[in-house]
């Protein structure tokens, strides 16, 4: 009788723990911790440097990959950082493949077209230019701020102001 209760109790703790671990990838905080750790380790010990704090970036790594391909095929002589000069940085490929794998595994994969694709194309171009100007996509700006980069802190302030401004103007446009 006692043994039975004890076993069932331990069973409950076990399944509870397993359920909590399986829910962990859904947490944004878990994402933040893992992404920062992975980026720091890759930048410090796995050759994704220099420049400093370069472990994770969608804009700079994308630029390095695009320019690496053009340099290799057209001999274009475009700028590539020291990290991605001899071998390509495949972070952006990993991002798309990893997310595609996660979506397929959980039944969330599917082609969705909500329109406005020409507009999105233009937004993408402007975002890339702005990101390369301030030295990284928002994720890398946060990484560089953690690294102790004052310029990145300024850029982060600018991004935060831009997000608030855009959100308020979107709300204003929607409620008009």
């Amino acid at each position: 009788m006692t043994a039975g209760t004890a076993t069932r109790h331990r069973d409950g703790v076990d399944t509870n723990l397993r359920a909590r671990i399986s829910r962990l990838p859904r947490s944004a905080v878990f994402y933040g911790i893992v992404a920062a750790l992975v980026a720091v380790v890759a930048g410090q010990w796995l050759r994704v440097s220099p420049p400093s704090a370069y472990g994770l970036c969608s804009a700079c790594h994308g630029r390095d990959l695009a320019n690496w391909v053009l340099n290799g095929t057209q001999d274009a002589g475009l700028f590539v950082t020291a990290a991605g000069a001899s071998w390509p940085l495949l972070t952006v490929v990993g991002l798309v493949v990893g997310s595609s794998f996660a979506a397929r595994r959980n039944g969330e994969f599917g082609s969705i077209d909500i329109g406005g694709n020409a507009r999105q194309f233009l937004f993408g171009a402007v975002v890339m230019c702005a990101a390369l100007f301030v030295g990284g996509c928002p994720t890398r700006i946060i990484l560089r701020t953690g690294y102790g980069d004052l310029t990145a802190l300024l850029a982060l302030g600018g991004v935060a102001a831009g997000v608030v401004l855009a959100t308020l103007s979107l709300r204003w446009a929607a409620s008009r």
């Binding site: 992975v38 410090q44 950082t81 972070t91 798309v96 082609s111 975002v127 953690g146 300024l154 982060l156």
Partner: protein, 145 residues
């Protein structure tokens, strides 16, 4: 060789978790301003705090190019012109990324799960990368790399 493998691994891990958590760096502040939802904002905070602690820990155990102080060497902006330019650049980045719906990293994740608009965004994104390095950067230089 190592850099390709490690960056691919970083991308796979972050892409997987990014799809599961719907994490977006501009989404954090946007959701907070719009509906007072702090779930994504906590993720942004965790990213910043973990990066700060991890870079500090690396400074203790290994040789880095960051120096010893809290502020990394050689990152202080020189003059008001640079400060204004970087803040305005950030402002444009934040504004347009929010209007387009997600930060660049989240657009990669959305492209992976099949959003057509995200593929259009990425097409403009990579075209602009080449345009910027070929024609814009030679005129204004690389302000921050």
């Amino acid at each position: 060789m190592i850099v390709s493998l490690s960056s691919l691994a970083v991308g796979l891990i972050v892409g997987y978790l990014g799809q599961r958590s719907r994490m977006c760096t501009v989404g954090g502040l946007r959701d907070f301003v719009l509906v007072r939802d702090t779930a994504l904002l906590k993720g942004v905070g965790a990213l910043l705090v973990t990066a700060w602690i991890a870079f500090g820990a690396v400074r203790l155990v290994a040789e880095t190019d960051a120096g010893n102080g809290l502020i990394a060497a050689g990152t202080t902006p020189t003059g008001l012109r640079v400060v204004a330019a970087v803040v305005v650049g950030g402002l444009v980045l934040g504004f347009v990324a929010t209007v387009s719906g997600a930060c660049p990293l989240r657009q990669h994740v959305l492209a992976g799960q099949g959003r057509v608009g995200a593929w259009a965004f990425l097409a403009g994104f990579y075209l602009a990368a080449v345009v910027y390095t070929s024609w814009i950067a030679p005129h204004i230089g690389w302000w921050a790399v």
